[in-house]
């Protein structure tokens, strides 16, 4: 593994790899290396561990420019003294790096309020396959000059270039946070809870359903903001959903809930991500149940207002899991949704495409990849359709 200490060094390494016709893979914190397809083995690994400097942090503008290897946890430490934070609450903050989070298009439950990496990435420095260093976006929160390359690079899994430096929008950290929990809800109750919250004009920063057994869920709604508003919102949540328990009186309830959520997203040798319309949750539940039933320690989380979910567990039988994965994906795709494999043992990854059938716009995607990486040397084969 080569670990460049500067963007110029990255550029030199990339140019060298081009000359030597070497395949390059990028490694940040290594939290998402299971995501995507199995490509050919890279000749060179470029690690961003040493690229961890803060280039510019203007607390008064709530904008930070940092190198790609900075971890999410370190970013949080830097922002905290200014009563600020970064809205992307992705798992494993101690390890996850900003560059990696861009590559996977990361998000956490607070996407409900702040959006994910896609929404908060203002600018980007990309080291291209040929070593050229290209900047896009800007250091201000509003900018439409030129094409929005940060959006295209976000979630591109390192297939277009090395993310070397990022500019991020920060937010004021809330004064207070409270989680309310509805215990033992059905999938229909989860959908109703979303509706009820909207009707009541309540605006939780996170809304997550966690599977507690076949067809049963706990629903956690987190309210964040100024103390008075949060208290009132939590009280109203309990008013409109009388079965809810108010974690205000029992903070450990909320802590345990979010710990379980994090476990769902980080543990288990098989981890998948699903997307569907929020009101289709009943179908999602039905489609995932055979898979979850085939796993040991099955876990599932559903971001109820967004229509995004995660499932994970230990495999008991590859064959059963593969069959259940195919069925679930087919059902989700019929409803306009998707299923993406975030981690799985090699045998499963070899037998089951991480992203599924290439979409209608695949010809465009292939052409985009070809323009940025003509010899297909960057993170080869890992992205959609083997790009």
């Amino acid at each position: 593994m080569i670990e460049p200490g500067s963007i110029e060094e990255c550029s030199a390494q990339m140019a060298k790899a081009t000359r030597d016709r070497q395949r390059v893979a990028f490694v940040g914190g290594g939290t998402a290396l299971g995501l995507g397809n199995l490509g050919p083995e890279p000749d060179v690994q470029l690690g961003t561990r040493r690229l961890d400097r803060v280039v510019d942090y203007a607390p008064e503008d709530q904008v930070i420019v940092a190198e790609a290897g900075l971890t999410l946890a370190r970013l949080a430490e830097l922002a905290a003294p200014n009563a600020q934070w970064f809205g992307v609450d992705a798992p494993q903050p101690e390890r996850a790096t900003l560059g990696g989070l861009v590559a996977v298009g990361a998000f956490g439950p607070r996407r409900t309020r702040y959006g994910g990496m896609r929404e908060l990435l203002l600018g980007l420095t990309l080291v291209r396959a040929d070593g050229a260093i290209a900047h896009s976006g800007s250091k201000v929160v509003k900018n439409v000059a030129g094409f929005d390359l940060p959006k295209v690079v976000c979630g591109s899994l390192g297939s277009l270039g090395l993310v070397a430096r990022v500019t991020l929008r920060l937010h004021p950290a809330p004064e207070a946070s409270q989680t309310c929990i509805v215990l033992d809800a059905s999938s229909a109750d989860v959908v109703d809870a979303v509706r009820a919250l909207r009707r009541a004009q309540l605006e939780p920063s996170s809304l997550v359903a966690l599977r507690r057994g076949a067809g049963r869920f706990d629903v956690g709604a987190r309210f964040e903001g100024f103390e008075r508003g949060v208290r009132r919102d939590a009280e109203r949540f309990v008013e409109i959903l009388p079965s809810a328990r108010h974690a205000g009186t029992d903070p450990s309830l909320g802590d345990g809930f979010w710990r379980d959520h994090a476990t769902t997203r980080t543990e288990g040798e098989l981890r998948i991500r699903v997307a569907a319309l929020p009101t289709d949750f009943g179908h999602v539940e039905g489609l995932l149940e055979p898979l979850l039933g085939s796993l040991e320690r099955p876990r599932q989380a559903w971001y109820a207002g967004l229509g995004l979910g995660f499932a994970s567990g230990q495999l008991t039988s590859d064959a059963r899991a593969l069959e259940a994965l195919s069925l679930a994906r087919a059902g989700l795709m019929r409803r306009g949704g998707s299923l993406v494999v975030e981690a799985a043992p090699k045998a499963v990854r070899a037998a089951f495409d991480a992203f599924g059938a290439a979409p209608g716009a695949f010809a465009l995607m292939r052409e985009l990849k070809r323009r940025f990486d003509p010899d297909a040397r960057l993170n080869s084969g890992r992205f959609i359709g083997g790009l």
């Binding site: 203007a58 250091k139 094409f147 959006k151």
Partner: protein, 507 residues
């Protein structure tokens, strides 16, 4: 730069494309073929009628299109684009023509594709908070359709009553309330796009996170250079429980700028913070319908959310304004008064006519902590060039709209106005900002792209364009300072029969 009335500088012509020079009229046969797709009435080739389409809301940049075609649906767009491709015509898409950067300025002899007849609202899904519309649908009509159900569409450009959603997608339009809710790109979930060869692709959709590259994110803000958007899936928002409007007056723009910094630093995220200086206030005083004594600057703010949160944040914002030296912080007595305040703000550009016959609008962005300093610098530039500059802008996100006023009939004043305006853009760049926050680069600001981005940066952006439109058929001469090629052409190029016998040329 955006100039209101007839003034063309040599500077703005120097980056013109070769395609801007006079073009031969289209053959009658070709015109008939377009007419057979969209009907005679929707196919304009009469020179007198073409004049209407020579410019968008930036009237000093003009060119005569070869033909204007107004399709009624996606299938007609596909046929028109396919025929234009075959005939080697450049295609310039146009929505309502309200753009302020010349994004829909035709290239001479092009096919101008007007999408204003495509105004159907196709699908509304309140439970999942999305809606599907055709590109010609007017921005405000989306909210009007949703209002009875307590939902709305968040991006609110000042031209919301007339601008189209397709145009908003092209420009990644903003608006006053984007501070809290984000821009068009945060509210577009999916697009249907017609490519140069007439093929149709779906990008994104109502379900989040479609696997693959975020090409929808690439198209939003691409200023019509990648394809023609024929359908848009937008995210819609539940109306907040309550909105409180605050109007704070100050004795200087520096005080008002400091108030903005204090509010942001206080952890408050209002839905909107707009600033107006003395000249802007003078222009809209009668529209605002509120008594505004001799104040030099004002902030107009909306704070929204749940009731308890809003009570707290409104109080905190008022307190911060007073701490920055506000003369007065008032709340509108009723909805009518609130509407009048916002109407005043939103009609500020048009109201400038009361002060001066001509103006140039800039759209530069600066880090929001530097408003007070940059406004002082702008005042200095105004004095130096002896032209008046009015400021009315989105203070919360640092998006300035300095209006450089001039009278074109006074010798040399236009030149000084342009010089002053150019210096203001450079001032924004030197403060670490951007040349445009929401109006787009278009034709107007293309010359400044090279001051914000390096040649490598621009070349990299061009790679994206080449993936979509390798022959640069869509909206040539926009965004980039100099025409650039795409290198190799994918696939084997076969010249069309009309090309072989010399009737048409390429590009």
């Amino acid at each position: 730069m955006t100039r209101k009335a007839g003034y063309v500088s040599l500077a703005s012509m120097s980056h013109a494309d070769a395609s801007d020079t006079a073009a031969a009229p289209l053959s009658r046969h070709l015109v008939q073929r377009f007419a057979s797709i969209v009907g005679e009435a929707n196919c304009i080739s009469d020179p007198a009628q073409l004049v209407t389409y020579e410019c968008d809301a930036l009237p000093h940049l003009r060119a005569r299109p070869g033909i204007v075609v107004l399709p009624k649906d996606r299938d007609e767009v596909v046929q028109v684009v396919r025929l234009a491709y075959e005939a080697g015509l450049a295609v310039v898409p146009r929505g309502s023509g309200t753009g302020l950067s010349g994004g829909a300025t035709p290239s001479a002899g092009c096919l101008l594709l007007g999408l204003s007849r495509m105004r159907r609202i196709l699908e509304v899904d309140l439970d999942n908070a999305w809606m599907r519309v055709e590109p010609g649908v007017i921005n405000l009509d989306i909210t009007k359709r949703l209002a009875p159900h307590g939902y709305y569409y968040a991006p609110d450009p000042s031209s919301a009553q007339v601008c189209s959603i397709g145009g908003n997608v092209a420009e990644n339009s903003g608006g006053a309330h984007c501070l809290k809710y984000g821009f068009t790109t945060h509210h577009v979930l999916g697009l249907e796009l017609v490519l140069a060869d007439g093929s149709v692709v779906e990008l994104g959709g109502p379900v989040l996170d479609t696997p693959g590259y975020d090409l929808r994110g690439a198209v939003v803000g691409s200023e019509g250079t990648l394809g023609v958007v024929t359908m848009v899936t937008v995210r819609i928002c539940r109306a907040p429980e309550t909105t409180r409007t605050l109007l704070a007056t100050f004795k200087s723009t520096a005080d008002a700028g400091n108030a903005v910094s204090l509010i942001i630093a206080g952890g408050i995220l209002p839905a909107a913070i707009e600033m107006m200086d003395q000249l802007a206030i003078d222009a809209v005083r009668s529209i605002m319908g509120v008594h505004l004594p001799e104040v030099t600057a004002l902030l107009l703010m909306d704070v929204d959310g749940t009731l308890a949160e809003v009570e707290h944040t409104a109080a905190k914002a008022s307190e911060r304004c007073r701490a920055a030296g506000a003369l007065e912080v008032r709340q509108p007595a009723n909805a009518a008064e609130r509407d009048a305040m916002w109407r005043g703000r939103k009609s500020a550009f048009t109201a400038m006519g009361r002060l001066c016959p001509n103006y140039i609008v800039q759209d530069g962005v600066i880090p929001r902590s530097q408003i007070a300093r940059v406004l002082t610098e702008i005042a200095r530039l105004s004095e130096h060039y002896a032209v008046r500059v009015a400021n009315v802008f989105h203070a919360g996100d640092g998006n300035l709209h300095p209006l450089v006023l001039y009278n074109a009939s006074i010798p040399d004043e236009a030149r000084r106005a342009e010089a002053c305006s150019g210096e203001i853009v450079r001032l924004c760049l030197s403060a670490g900002g951007s040349i445009t926050g929401e109006h787009g680069v278009g034709k107007d600001k293309a010359a400044y792209m090279g001051e914000m981005f390096s040649e490598t940066d621009l070349e990299t952006m061009n790679l994206l364009r080449c993936a979509f439109d390798p022959e640069r058929r869509f909206n040539p001469g926009k965004v980039f300072p100099t025409p650039r090629l795409c290198g190799d052409q994918p696939g084997h190029y076969k010249p069309h029969a009309a090309e072989l016998d010399g009737r048409i040329g390429r590009g």
